[in-house]
Protein backbone atom coordinates (compact mmCIF):
# COMPACT_ATOMS: atom_id res chain seq x y z
CA UNK A 1 0.00 0.00 0.00
CA UNK A 2 1.38 3.35 -0.98
CA UNK A 3 1.92 5.81 1.83
CA UNK A 4 0.98 9.00 0.05
CA UNK A 5 -1.41 10.34 -2.58
CA UNK A 6 -0.18 11.37 -5.99
CA UNK A 7 0.33 15.05 -6.73
CA UNK A 8 -2.51 14.88 -9.25
CA UNK A 9 -4.92 13.54 -6.63
CA UNK A 10 -4.11 16.37 -4.24
CA UNK A 11 -4.35 18.98 -7.00
CA UNK A 12 -7.72 17.58 -8.03
CA UNK A 13 -9.05 17.85 -4.48
CA UNK A 14 -7.65 21.38 -4.22
CA UNK A 15 -9.31 22.27 -7.46
CA UNK A 16 -12.68 20.95 -6.21
CA UNK A 17 -12.25 23.05 -3.06
CA UNK A 18 -11.21 26.06 -5.17
CA UNK A 19 -7.96 26.56 -3.28
CA UNK A 20 -4.42 27.06 -4.48
CA UNK A 21 -1.59 25.04 -2.93
CA UNK A 22 2.12 25.79 -2.90
CA UNK A 23 4.73 23.18 -3.81
CA UNK A 24 5.55 22.66 -0.11
CA UNK A 25 1.87 22.28 0.81
CA UNK A 26 1.39 19.83 -2.00
CA UNK A 27 4.02 17.49 -0.61
CA UNK A 28 2.65 17.88 2.93
CA UNK A 29 -0.96 17.10 1.85
CA UNK A 30 0.13 14.06 -0.15
CA UNK A 31 1.03 12.44 3.17
CA UNK A 32 -1.62 14.08 5.44
CA UNK A 33 -4.61 13.37 3.21
CA UNK A 34 -3.51 9.76 2.80
CA UNK A 35 -3.37 9.38 6.59
CA UNK A 36 -6.90 10.81 6.86
CA UNK A 37 -8.19 8.42 4.23
CA UNK A 38 -6.58 5.46 5.98
CA UNK A 39 -8.24 6.46 9.26
CA UNK A 40 -11.63 6.69 7.59
CA UNK A 41 -11.04 3.32 5.93
CA UNK A 42 -11.06 1.76 9.42
CA UNK A 43 -14.83 2.21 9.49
CA UNK A 44 -15.05 -0.48 6.84
CA UNK A 45 -13.59 -2.96 9.32
CA UNK A 46 -16.69 -2.69 11.51
CA UNK A 47 -19.02 -5.65 10.99
CA UNK A 48 -22.29 -4.69 9.34
CA UNK A 49 -25.35 -5.98 11.18
CA UNK A 50 -27.83 -4.30 8.95
CA UNK A 51 -28.13 -3.99 5.19
CA UNK A 52 -29.56 -0.56 5.58
CA UNK A 53 -27.30 2.46 5.39
CA UNK A 54 -26.88 4.55 8.49
CA UNK A 55 -27.18 8.27 7.94
CA UNK A 56 -27.09 9.52 11.51
CA UNK A 57 -26.45 8.09 14.97
CA UNK A 58 -30.16 7.64 15.66
CA UNK A 59 -32.92 5.63 14.08
CA UNK A 60 -36.00 7.80 14.50
CA UNK A 61 -37.62 9.35 11.43
CA UNK A 62 -37.54 13.03 10.67
CA UNK A 63 -40.29 15.30 11.95
CA UNK A 64 -42.00 17.21 9.19
CA UNK A 65 -42.60 20.95 9.53
CA UNK A 66 -45.99 22.51 8.73
CA UNK A 67 -45.98 24.72 5.65
CA UNK A 68 -46.48 27.94 7.62
CA UNK A 69 -44.48 31.08 7.05
CA UNK A 70 -42.18 32.42 9.80
CA UNK A 71 -40.18 35.62 10.27
CA UNK A 72 -37.72 36.61 7.58
CA UNK A 73 -34.66 38.83 7.60
CA UNK A 74 -34.76 42.42 6.46
CA UNK A 75 -32.64 42.78 3.28
CA UNK A 76 -30.46 45.24 5.22
CA UNK A 77 -29.61 42.48 7.70
CA UNK A 78 -28.93 40.06 4.86
CA UNK A 79 -26.32 42.43 3.45
CA UNK A 80 -24.56 43.04 6.79
CA UNK A 81 -22.12 40.17 6.28
CA UNK A 82 -21.62 40.75 2.58
CA UNK A 83 -18.43 42.71 1.85
CA UNK A 84 -19.87 43.95 -1.45
CA UNK A 85 -23.45 44.68 -2.37
CA UNK A 86 -25.36 46.77 -4.87
CA UNK A 87 -29.08 47.58 -4.78
CA UNK A 88 -29.86 44.74 -2.35
CA UNK A 89 -27.87 42.21 -4.39
CA UNK A 90 -24.86 40.52 -2.87
CA UNK A 91 -22.01 41.13 -5.30
CA UNK A 92 -19.23 38.59 -5.80
CA UNK A 93 -16.44 38.40 -8.38
CA UNK A 94 -17.77 37.29 -11.76
CA UNK A 95 -17.56 33.54 -11.57
CA UNK A 96 -18.22 32.42 -15.12
CA UNK A 97 -18.29 33.82 -18.59
CA UNK A 98 -21.73 34.55 -19.97
CA UNK A 99 -21.84 31.32 -21.95
CA UNK A 100 -21.83 29.23 -18.83
CA UNK A 101 -24.89 28.29 -16.85
CA UNK A 102 -25.52 28.58 -13.17
CA UNK A 103 -24.02 26.05 -10.78
CA UNK A 104 -25.52 22.64 -10.11
Amino acid sequence: MKNKLTKEEVLHVADLARIEVTKEELEKYQVELKKLLDDVEKINEVENYDDEIMIAPWTNNTTLRSDVEGPMLDPKEVLLNAPHHTANYIAVPTVINENESEGA
Binding site: W58, T62, D67, E69, T94, E100
Partner: protein, 474 residues
Protein backbone atom coordinates in the same frame (compact mmCIF):
# COMPACT_ATOMS: atom_id res chain seq x y z
CA UNK B 1 -35.91 10.32 -43.70
CA UNK B 2 -32.65 10.84 -41.89
CA UNK B 3 -30.09 8.05 -41.87
CA UNK B 4 -29.51 8.62 -38.14
CA UNK B 5 -31.70 7.66 -35.21
CA UNK B 6 -31.94 10.33 -32.51
CA UNK B 7 -32.15 9.30 -28.84
CA UNK B 8 -33.58 11.98 -26.59
CA UNK B 9 -33.96 12.22 -22.82
CA UNK B 10 -35.39 15.17 -20.92
CA UNK B 11 -34.69 16.49 -17.42
CA UNK B 12 -37.18 18.93 -16.00
CA UNK B 13 -36.97 21.01 -12.83
CA UNK B 14 -40.25 22.36 -11.48
CA UNK B 15 -40.65 24.66 -8.49
CA UNK B 16 -43.27 23.38 -6.08
CA UNK B 17 -46.27 25.51 -5.14
CA UNK B 18 -45.75 25.67 -1.39
CA UNK B 19 -46.10 28.58 1.02
CA UNK B 20 -42.62 28.17 2.42
CA UNK B 21 -39.23 26.88 1.36
CA UNK B 22 -38.18 23.26 1.53
CA UNK B 23 -35.88 23.45 4.58
CA UNK B 24 -36.89 26.76 6.21
CA UNK B 25 -40.06 28.67 6.98
CA UNK B 26 -39.30 31.71 4.85
CA UNK B 27 -41.72 32.48 2.04
CA UNK B 28 -41.59 30.72 -1.32
CA UNK B 29 -42.41 33.64 -3.63
CA UNK B 30 -41.55 35.20 -6.96
CA UNK B 31 -41.07 38.83 -7.91
CA UNK B 32 -40.44 40.25 -4.42
CA UNK B 33 -37.78 42.78 -3.42
CA UNK B 34 -34.28 41.28 -3.88
CA UNK B 35 -33.04 39.34 -0.84
CA UNK B 36 -36.26 39.96 1.13
CA UNK B 37 -37.47 36.33 1.33
CA UNK B 38 -34.68 34.73 3.34
CA UNK B 39 -33.56 33.65 6.75
CA UNK B 40 -30.33 32.25 8.16
CA UNK B 41 -31.08 28.74 6.88
CA UNK B 42 -31.49 29.89 3.28
CA UNK B 43 -28.29 31.93 3.58
CA UNK B 44 -26.37 28.87 4.78
CA UNK B 45 -25.25 30.30 8.10
CA UNK B 46 -23.12 27.97 10.22
CA UNK B 47 -25.03 26.15 12.93
CA UNK B 48 -28.41 26.32 11.25
CA UNK B 49 -30.36 23.14 10.63
CA UNK B 50 -32.80 22.21 7.86
CA UNK B 51 -36.41 21.34 8.77
CA UNK B 52 -38.28 19.46 6.07
CA UNK B 53 -41.54 21.01 4.82
CA UNK B 54 -44.44 18.53 5.01
CA UNK B 55 -46.13 20.00 1.92
CA UNK B 56 -43.05 19.27 -0.20
CA UNK B 57 -43.43 15.57 0.60
CA UNK B 58 -47.17 15.75 -0.16
CA UNK B 59 -46.57 17.42 -3.53
CA UNK B 60 -43.81 14.90 -4.27
CA UNK B 61 -46.26 12.05 -3.59
CA UNK B 62 -48.85 13.78 -5.77
CA UNK B 63 -46.47 14.27 -8.69
CA UNK B 64 -45.23 10.68 -8.38
CA UNK B 65 -48.84 9.44 -8.41
CA UNK B 66 -49.94 11.31 -11.53
CA UNK B 67 -46.70 10.40 -13.32
CA UNK B 68 -47.45 6.72 -12.57
CA UNK B 69 -44.26 6.38 -10.52
CA UNK B 70 -43.59 3.90 -7.75
CA UNK B 71 -43.22 5.74 -4.45
CA UNK B 72 -40.18 5.18 -2.25
CA UNK B 73 -41.47 4.37 1.24
CA UNK B 74 -38.29 5.15 3.14
CA UNK B 75 -35.95 7.77 1.82
CA UNK B 76 -33.21 10.15 2.82
CA UNK B 77 -31.51 13.19 1.38
CA UNK B 78 -27.95 13.54 0.10
CA UNK B 79 -25.42 16.33 -0.06
CA UNK B 80 -24.14 17.25 -3.49
CA UNK B 81 -20.90 19.06 -2.84
CA UNK B 82 -19.66 21.90 -5.00
CA UNK B 83 -18.11 25.31 -4.41
CA UNK B 84 -20.07 28.03 -6.07
CA UNK B 85 -21.54 31.31 -4.77
CA UNK B 86 -25.12 30.31 -5.60
CA UNK B 87 -25.06 27.97 -2.61
CA UNK B 88 -23.07 29.33 0.33
CA UNK B 89 -23.17 26.14 2.40
CA UNK B 90 -21.22 24.54 -0.46
CA UNK B 91 -23.59 21.69 -0.95
CA UNK B 92 -27.06 21.29 -2.34
CA UNK B 93 -29.46 19.03 -0.44
CA UNK B 94 -30.94 16.63 -2.97
CA UNK B 95 -31.91 12.96 -3.33
CA UNK B 96 -29.25 10.92 -5.07
CA UNK B 97 -29.75 7.40 -3.67
CA UNK B 98 -33.45 7.36 -2.84
CA UNK B 99 -35.54 9.50 -5.21
CA UNK B 100 -39.16 9.80 -3.99
CA UNK B 101 -40.55 8.43 -7.30
CA UNK B 102 -39.18 5.97 -9.86
CA UNK B 103 -40.21 3.77 -12.81
CA UNK B 104 -43.10 5.93 -14.03
CA UNK B 105 -44.49 7.03 -17.37
CA UNK B 106 -46.75 9.53 -19.06
CA UNK B 107 -48.64 8.83 -22.24
CA UNK B 108 -48.46 11.17 -25.22
CA UNK B 109 -50.66 11.30 -28.30
CA UNK B 110 -48.43 11.84 -31.33
CA UNK B 111 -50.90 12.52 -34.13
CA UNK B 112 -53.17 9.68 -33.09
CA UNK B 113 -50.40 7.28 -32.04
CA UNK B 114 -50.17 6.74 -28.29
CA UNK B 115 -46.70 6.37 -26.82
CA UNK B 116 -45.48 5.95 -23.26
CA UNK B 117 -42.61 8.20 -22.22
CA UNK B 118 -40.84 6.43 -19.37
CA UNK B 119 -39.71 8.27 -16.29
CA UNK B 120 -36.52 6.97 -14.75
CA UNK B 121 -36.88 8.83 -11.46
CA UNK B 122 -38.09 12.02 -9.83
CA UNK B 123 -36.38 13.50 -6.81
CA UNK B 124 -36.81 16.39 -4.40
CA UNK B 125 -34.14 19.05 -3.96
CA UNK B 126 -33.59 22.68 -3.05
CA UNK B 127 -33.18 25.45 -5.59
CA UNK B 128 -30.06 27.64 -5.50
CA UNK B 129 -29.99 31.41 -5.33
CA UNK B 130 -30.45 33.34 -8.55
CA UNK B 131 -27.17 34.57 -10.00
CA UNK B 132 -27.04 37.36 -12.53
CA UNK B 133 -23.71 37.48 -14.33
CA UNK B 134 -22.30 40.82 -15.46
CA UNK B 135 -18.80 41.78 -16.61
CA UNK B 136 -17.92 43.50 -13.32
CA UNK B 137 -19.61 41.17 -10.82
CA UNK B 138 -21.97 38.29 -10.28
CA UNK B 139 -25.07 39.46 -8.41
CA UNK B 140 -26.88 37.15 -5.99
CA UNK B 141 -30.54 37.14 -4.95
CA UNK B 142 -31.33 34.53 -2.29
CA UNK B 143 -35.11 34.76 -2.62
CA UNK B 144 -34.93 31.60 -4.75
CA UNK B 145 -32.48 29.80 -2.43
CA UNK B 146 -34.27 26.89 -0.81
CA UNK B 147 -37.35 26.97 -3.03
CA UNK B 148 -38.49 23.33 -3.29
CA UNK B 149 -37.93 21.61 -6.63
CA UNK B 150 -38.64 18.26 -8.12
CA UNK B 151 -36.42 17.07 -10.91
CA UNK B 152 -38.05 14.63 -13.29
CA UNK B 153 -35.74 12.53 -15.47
CA UNK B 154 -36.98 10.47 -18.41
CA UNK B 155 -35.32 7.39 -19.82
CA UNK B 156 -33.61 8.06 -23.16
CA UNK B 157 -36.75 6.89 -24.92
CA UNK B 158 -37.81 9.71 -27.22
CA UNK B 159 -36.85 9.60 -30.88
CA UNK B 160 -38.12 12.90 -32.31
CA UNK B 161 -38.09 16.55 -31.18
CA UNK B 162 -41.87 16.52 -31.47
CA UNK B 163 -42.13 13.71 -28.90
CA UNK B 164 -40.05 15.83 -26.53
CA UNK B 165 -42.44 18.73 -27.05
CA UNK B 166 -45.52 16.55 -26.50
CA UNK B 167 -43.99 15.05 -23.37
CA UNK B 168 -43.28 18.48 -21.89
CA UNK B 169 -46.78 19.70 -22.72
CA UNK B 170 -48.25 16.64 -21.04
CA UNK B 171 -46.02 17.00 -18.00
CA UNK B 172 -46.85 20.69 -17.63
CA UNK B 173 -50.58 19.98 -17.93
CA UNK B 174 -50.46 17.26 -15.24
CA UNK B 175 -48.37 19.25 -12.76
CA UNK B 176 -50.41 22.40 -13.33
CA UNK B 177 -53.79 20.70 -12.89
CA UNK B 178 -52.66 19.01 -9.68
CA UNK B 179 -51.27 22.29 -8.26
CA UNK B 180 -47.84 20.75 -7.87
CA UNK B 181 -46.35 23.73 -9.69
CA UNK B 182 -47.55 26.75 -11.63
CA UNK B 183 -45.17 25.58 -14.42
CA UNK B 184 -44.37 29.06 -15.75
CA UNK B 185 -41.35 28.60 -17.98
CA UNK B 186 -41.02 32.36 -18.46
CA UNK B 187 -40.63 32.82 -14.69
CA UNK B 188 -38.32 29.83 -14.38
CA UNK B 189 -40.72 27.70 -12.32
CA UNK B 190 -40.34 25.00 -15.00
CA UNK B 191 -36.95 24.51 -16.64
CA UNK B 192 -35.90 21.89 -19.15
CA UNK B 193 -32.60 20.31 -20.18
CA UNK B 194 -32.45 17.93 -23.14
CA UNK B 195 -29.96 15.14 -23.86
CA UNK B 196 -29.52 14.09 -27.45
CA UNK B 197 -27.34 11.59 -29.31
CA UNK B 198 -27.45 10.05 -32.77
CA UNK B 199 -26.73 6.52 -33.96
CA UNK B 200 -27.20 4.74 -37.24
CA UNK B 201 -29.51 1.97 -36.12
CA UNK B 202 -31.23 0.79 -32.97
CA UNK B 203 -28.80 -2.07 -32.38
CA UNK B 204 -25.83 0.34 -32.27
CA UNK B 205 -24.61 1.67 -28.92
CA UNK B 206 -25.74 5.23 -28.08
CA UNK B 207 -23.78 7.96 -29.86
CA UNK B 208 -21.92 10.82 -28.16
CA UNK B 209 -24.29 12.64 -25.82
CA UNK B 210 -24.84 16.38 -25.97
CA UNK B 211 -26.77 18.17 -23.24
CA UNK B 212 -28.70 21.34 -24.05
CA UNK B 213 -29.25 23.24 -20.82
CA UNK B 214 -31.84 25.67 -19.48
CA UNK B 215 -34.15 25.91 -22.46
CA UNK B 216 -36.68 28.66 -21.84
CA UNK B 217 -39.81 27.39 -23.58
CA UNK B 218 -41.35 24.17 -24.83
CA UNK B 219 -41.24 25.32 -28.46
CA UNK B 220 -37.53 26.09 -28.04
CA UNK B 221 -36.94 22.56 -26.75
CA UNK B 222 -38.27 21.22 -30.03
CA UNK B 223 -36.40 23.82 -32.07
CA UNK B 224 -33.08 23.35 -30.26
CA UNK B 225 -33.29 19.57 -30.70
CA UNK B 226 -33.97 19.99 -34.42
CA UNK B 227 -30.98 22.31 -34.75
CA UNK B 228 -28.76 20.01 -32.71
CA UNK B 229 -29.75 16.95 -34.75
CA UNK B 230 -28.91 18.81 -37.96
CA UNK B 231 -25.56 19.91 -36.53
CA UNK B 232 -24.60 16.42 -35.38
CA UNK B 233 -25.74 14.82 -38.65
CA UNK B 234 -23.48 17.11 -40.59
CA UNK B 235 -20.51 16.25 -38.36
CA UNK B 236 -21.19 12.52 -38.56
CA UNK B 237 -21.53 12.74 -42.35
CA UNK B 238 -18.11 14.37 -42.48
CA UNK B 239 -16.69 11.72 -40.11
CA UNK B 240 -15.92 14.42 -37.55
CA UNK B 241 -15.79 13.22 -33.97
CA UNK B 242 -16.88 15.35 -31.03
CA UNK B 243 -16.72 15.10 -27.26
CA UNK B 244 -19.57 14.91 -24.77
CA UNK B 245 -20.51 18.50 -24.19
CA UNK B 246 -22.97 20.92 -22.72
CA UNK B 247 -24.58 23.47 -24.99
CA UNK B 248 -27.27 26.07 -24.59
CA UNK B 249 -29.94 27.29 -26.99
CA UNK B 250 -29.50 30.87 -28.11
CA UNK B 251 -32.90 32.07 -29.25
CA UNK B 252 -31.39 35.10 -31.01
CA UNK B 253 -28.95 32.98 -33.02
CA UNK B 254 -31.67 30.33 -33.35
CA UNK B 255 -29.05 27.64 -32.73
CA UNK B 256 -27.23 25.78 -29.96
CA UNK B 257 -23.97 27.26 -28.63
CA UNK B 258 -21.15 25.44 -26.85
CA UNK B 259 -20.74 26.29 -23.17
CA UNK B 260 -17.31 26.11 -21.55
CA UNK B 261 -16.85 22.64 -20.13
CA UNK B 262 -16.35 22.63 -16.38
CA UNK B 263 -13.01 21.16 -15.36
CA UNK B 264 -14.43 19.39 -12.33
CA UNK B 265 -17.11 17.48 -14.24
CA UNK B 266 -19.39 15.47 -11.99
CA UNK B 267 -17.16 15.10 -8.99
CA UNK B 268 -19.89 16.00 -6.52
CA UNK B 269 -18.88 13.57 -3.74
CA UNK B 270 -22.44 12.75 -2.72
CA UNK B 271 -23.03 11.49 0.80
CA UNK B 272 -26.18 11.11 2.94
CA UNK B 273 -27.38 14.34 4.57
CA UNK B 274 -26.94 13.67 8.32
CA UNK B 275 -29.07 16.67 9.40
CA UNK B 276 -32.29 15.13 8.06
CA UNK B 277 -33.18 11.68 9.43
CA UNK B 278 -35.07 9.15 7.31
CA UNK B 279 -38.44 10.14 5.88
CA UNK B 280 -41.03 7.41 5.91
CA UNK B 281 -44.04 7.62 3.58
CA UNK B 282 -47.06 5.79 4.98
CA UNK B 283 -50.15 4.39 3.23
CA UNK B 284 -52.17 7.03 5.05
CA UNK B 285 -50.04 9.87 3.64
CA UNK B 286 -50.47 8.50 0.12
CA UNK B 287 -54.24 8.04 0.54
CA UNK B 288 -54.65 11.57 1.89
CA UNK B 289 -52.76 13.02 -1.05
CA UNK B 290 -54.74 10.97 -3.57
CA UNK B 291 -57.95 12.52 -2.23
CA UNK B 292 -56.70 15.95 -3.32
CA UNK B 293 -56.08 14.96 -6.95
CA UNK B 294 -58.76 16.54 -9.18
CA UNK B 295 -60.08 15.12 -12.46
CA UNK B 296 -57.00 14.94 -14.69
CA UNK B 297 -56.75 16.57 -18.14
CA UNK B 298 -57.16 13.37 -20.20
CA UNK B 299 -60.24 12.36 -18.25
CA UNK B 300 -61.68 15.85 -18.71
CA UNK B 301 -61.12 15.69 -22.48
CA UNK B 302 -62.84 12.29 -22.67
CA UNK B 303 -65.76 13.50 -20.57
CA UNK B 304 -66.27 16.63 -22.68
CA UNK B 305 -66.26 14.67 -25.91
CA UNK B 306 -68.74 12.22 -24.39
CA UNK B 307 -71.02 15.18 -23.56
CA UNK B 308 -71.03 16.28 -27.20
CA UNK B 309 -68.35 18.96 -27.14
CA UNK B 310 -66.11 18.90 -30.22
CA UNK B 311 -62.56 17.58 -29.85
CA UNK B 312 -61.12 20.99 -30.67
CA UNK B 313 -63.24 22.71 -28.04
CA UNK B 314 -62.55 19.95 -25.51
CA UNK B 315 -58.83 20.60 -25.93
CA UNK B 316 -59.33 24.35 -25.70
CA UNK B 317 -61.28 23.93 -22.46
CA UNK B 318 -58.53 21.79 -20.92
CA UNK B 319 -55.99 24.42 -21.93
CA UNK B 320 -57.93 26.95 -19.85
CA UNK B 321 -58.11 25.53 -16.36
CA UNK B 322 -60.46 28.23 -15.00
CA UNK B 323 -63.05 27.45 -17.66
CA UNK B 324 -62.48 23.71 -17.38
CA UNK B 325 -63.02 23.82 -13.60
CA UNK B 326 -66.10 25.97 -14.18
CA UNK B 327 -67.72 23.57 -16.64
CA UNK B 328 -66.77 20.63 -14.42
CA UNK B 329 -69.13 22.03 -11.79
CA UNK B 330 -72.11 21.42 -14.09
CA UNK B 331 -71.27 18.08 -15.66
CA UNK B 332 -74.38 16.51 -14.12
CA UNK B 333 -76.76 19.14 -15.46
CA UNK B 334 -79.04 18.48 -18.41
CA UNK B 335 -77.87 21.22 -20.71
CA UNK B 336 -76.56 21.52 -24.24
CA UNK B 337 -72.82 21.23 -23.58
CA UNK B 338 -71.93 22.17 -27.12
CA UNK B 339 -73.63 25.52 -26.55
CA UNK B 340 -72.03 25.82 -23.12
CA UNK B 341 -68.54 25.23 -24.53
CA UNK B 342 -69.13 27.63 -27.43
CA UNK B 343 -70.27 30.32 -25.02
CA UNK B 344 -67.35 29.85 -22.64
CA UNK B 345 -64.71 29.71 -25.37
CA UNK B 346 -66.31 32.37 -27.56
CA UNK B 347 -68.09 35.45 -26.24
CA UNK B 348 -67.34 34.83 -22.57
CA UNK B 349 -63.60 34.29 -23.13
CA UNK B 350 -63.46 37.38 -25.33
CA UNK B 351 -65.17 39.39 -22.59
CA UNK B 352 -62.88 38.01 -19.85
CA UNK B 353 -59.75 38.70 -21.90
CA UNK B 354 -60.87 42.23 -22.66
CA UNK B 355 -61.74 42.97 -19.05
CA UNK B 356 -58.74 41.02 -17.71
CA UNK B 357 -61.00 39.13 -15.35
CA UNK B 358 -61.46 35.51 -14.41
CA UNK B 359 -64.92 34.01 -14.68
CA UNK B 360 -65.03 33.80 -10.88
CA UNK B 361 -64.70 37.58 -10.75
CA UNK B 362 -67.92 38.10 -12.73
CA UNK B 363 -71.55 37.74 -11.58
CA UNK B 364 -72.06 34.76 -13.90
CA UNK B 365 -72.50 32.02 -11.32
CA UNK B 366 -73.30 28.46 -12.29
CA UNK B 367 -77.11 28.89 -11.95
CA UNK B 368 -77.19 31.95 -14.20
CA UNK B 369 -74.84 30.26 -16.67
CA UNK B 370 -77.21 27.29 -16.95
CA UNK B 371 -80.06 29.75 -17.66
CA UNK B 372 -77.95 31.48 -20.28
CA UNK B 373 -77.08 28.19 -21.98
CA UNK B 374 -80.75 27.20 -22.05
CA UNK B 375 -81.81 30.55 -23.46
CA UNK B 376 -79.22 30.31 -26.20
CA UNK B 377 -79.94 26.67 -27.00
CA UNK B 378 -83.71 27.25 -27.26
CA UNK B 379 -82.96 30.30 -29.38
CA UNK B 380 -84.62 32.80 -27.06
CA UNK B 381 -81.64 34.91 -27.78
CA UNK B 382 -79.45 34.78 -30.84
CA UNK B 383 -75.72 34.64 -30.41
CA UNK B 384 -75.53 37.90 -32.32
CA UNK B 385 -77.73 39.70 -29.82
CA UNK B 386 -76.02 38.05 -26.90
CA UNK B 387 -72.93 40.16 -27.55
CA UNK B 388 -74.94 43.32 -26.79
CA UNK B 389 -76.16 42.17 -23.40
CA UNK B 390 -73.14 40.12 -22.32
CA UNK B 391 -71.62 42.88 -20.25
CA UNK B 392 -74.90 43.25 -18.31
CA UNK B 393 -74.99 39.49 -17.78
CA UNK B 394 -71.40 39.45 -16.51
CA UNK B 395 -71.73 42.45 -14.20
CA UNK B 396 -75.34 42.47 -12.93
CA UNK B 397 -77.09 39.93 -10.78
CA UNK B 398 -80.50 40.09 -12.52
CA UNK B 399 -81.90 36.87 -13.93
CA UNK B 400 -80.94 36.08 -17.52
CA UNK B 401 -84.63 36.18 -18.57
CA UNK B 402 -85.04 39.63 -17.08
CA UNK B 403 -81.96 40.94 -18.83
CA UNK B 404 -83.08 39.50 -22.15
CA UNK B 405 -86.64 40.81 -21.92
CA UNK B 406 -85.67 44.26 -20.74
CA UNK B 407 -83.00 44.76 -23.35
CA UNK B 408 -83.56 46.59 -26.66
CA UNK B 409 -81.84 43.89 -28.53
CA UNK B 410 -84.02 41.01 -27.61
CA UNK B 411 -85.22 40.55 -31.16
CA UNK B 412 -84.39 37.39 -32.96
CA UNK B 413 -83.68 38.53 -36.49
CA UNK B 414 -82.48 35.26 -37.90
CA UNK B 415 -84.84 34.79 -40.83
CA UNK B 416 -84.29 31.06 -41.23
CA UNK B 417 -84.92 30.53 -37.58
CA UNK B 418 -88.07 32.64 -37.58
CA UNK B 419 -89.37 30.90 -40.71
CA UNK B 420 -89.03 27.60 -38.86
CA UNK B 421 -91.05 28.94 -35.94
CA UNK B 422 -93.67 30.46 -38.27
CA UNK B 423 -94.06 27.13 -40.08
CA UNK B 424 -94.44 25.33 -36.81
CA UNK B 425 -97.16 27.69 -35.58
CA UNK B 426 -99.02 27.59 -38.92
CA UNK B 427 -98.99 23.78 -38.85
CA UNK B 428 -100.23 23.74 -35.27
CA UNK B 429 -103.12 26.17 -35.87
CA UNK B 430 -104.99 25.21 -39.05
CA UNK B 431 -108.23 26.81 -37.78
CA UNK B 432 -106.67 30.21 -37.34
CA UNK B 433 -105.08 29.94 -40.78
CA UNK B 434 -108.51 29.19 -42.24
CA UNK B 435 -110.05 32.09 -40.34
CA UNK B 436 -107.42 34.42 -41.76
CA UNK B 437 -107.96 33.15 -45.27
CA UNK B 438 -111.70 33.71 -44.77
CA UNK B 439 -111.07 37.34 -44.05
CA UNK B 440 -110.78 37.37 -40.26
CA UNK B 441 -107.85 39.73 -39.76
CA UNK B 442 -107.80 39.10 -36.04
CA UNK B 443 -106.62 35.54 -36.66
CA UNK B 444 -103.20 36.78 -37.82
CA UNK B 445 -102.78 38.58 -34.50
CA UNK B 446 -103.45 35.33 -32.68
CA UNK B 447 -100.84 33.52 -34.79
CA UNK B 448 -98.43 36.37 -34.21
CA UNK B 449 -98.95 36.03 -30.45
CA UNK B 450 -98.26 32.31 -30.60
CA UNK B 451 -94.98 32.96 -32.44
CA UNK B 452 -93.90 35.55 -29.89
CA UNK B 453 -94.77 33.14 -27.11
CA UNK B 454 -92.81 30.39 -28.81
CA UNK B 455 -89.78 32.70 -29.06
CA UNK B 456 -90.32 33.93 -25.49
CA UNK B 457 -90.87 37.42 -26.87
CA UNK B 458 -87.53 37.33 -28.60
CA UNK B 459 -88.64 37.56 -32.21
CA UNK B 460 -88.45 40.76 -34.19
CA UNK B 461 -92.19 41.54 -34.69
CA UNK B 462 -91.88 43.31 -38.01
CA UNK B 463 -89.88 40.48 -39.47
CA UNK B 464 -92.29 37.86 -38.10
CA UNK B 465 -95.27 39.70 -39.59
CA UNK B 466 -93.58 39.91 -42.97
CA UNK B 467 -92.73 36.18 -43.01
CA UNK B 468 -96.16 35.22 -41.70
CA UNK B 469 -98.05 37.29 -44.28
CA UNK B 470 -95.82 35.95 -47.01
CA UNK B 471 -96.67 32.38 -45.97
CA UNK B 472 -100.41 32.97 -45.52
CA UNK B 473 -100.94 35.01 -48.65
CA UNK B 474 -99.19 32.53 -50.95
Amino acid sequence: MSKYLPTIGIEVHVELKTNTKIFSNSRNGYGSVVNSLTNVVDLGYPGTLPTLNEEVINLGIKAATVLNCKIRRKMHFDRKNYFYPDNPKNYQITQNDTPIGYDGYVEINDDGVMKKIYIEEMHIEEDTCKSTHRKDNTYLDFNRAGVPLIEIVTKPCMTTPNEAKLYLEKLRELLFYTDVSDCKMEEGSMRADANISLRKKESDPFGTKVEIKNIGSISNVKLSLEKEIARQEKMLDNNESFKEQTRRFDSKLNDTVLMRVKETGNDYRYFPEPDIPFVEITDEMIENVKKTIPMLPDERREKYIELGISEINSNKLVQNRDLSDYINDLLDEKIDFQVAANLLLGDISAYLNKEEKTIEETTLNIERFIDLVNNVSNKTISSKNLKDILETIMTKEDSIEKIISSSDVQNITDENLLTEVVDKIIDANPESVNDYKNGHDRAIKYLMGQIMKETKGGANPALVMSILKDKLDN
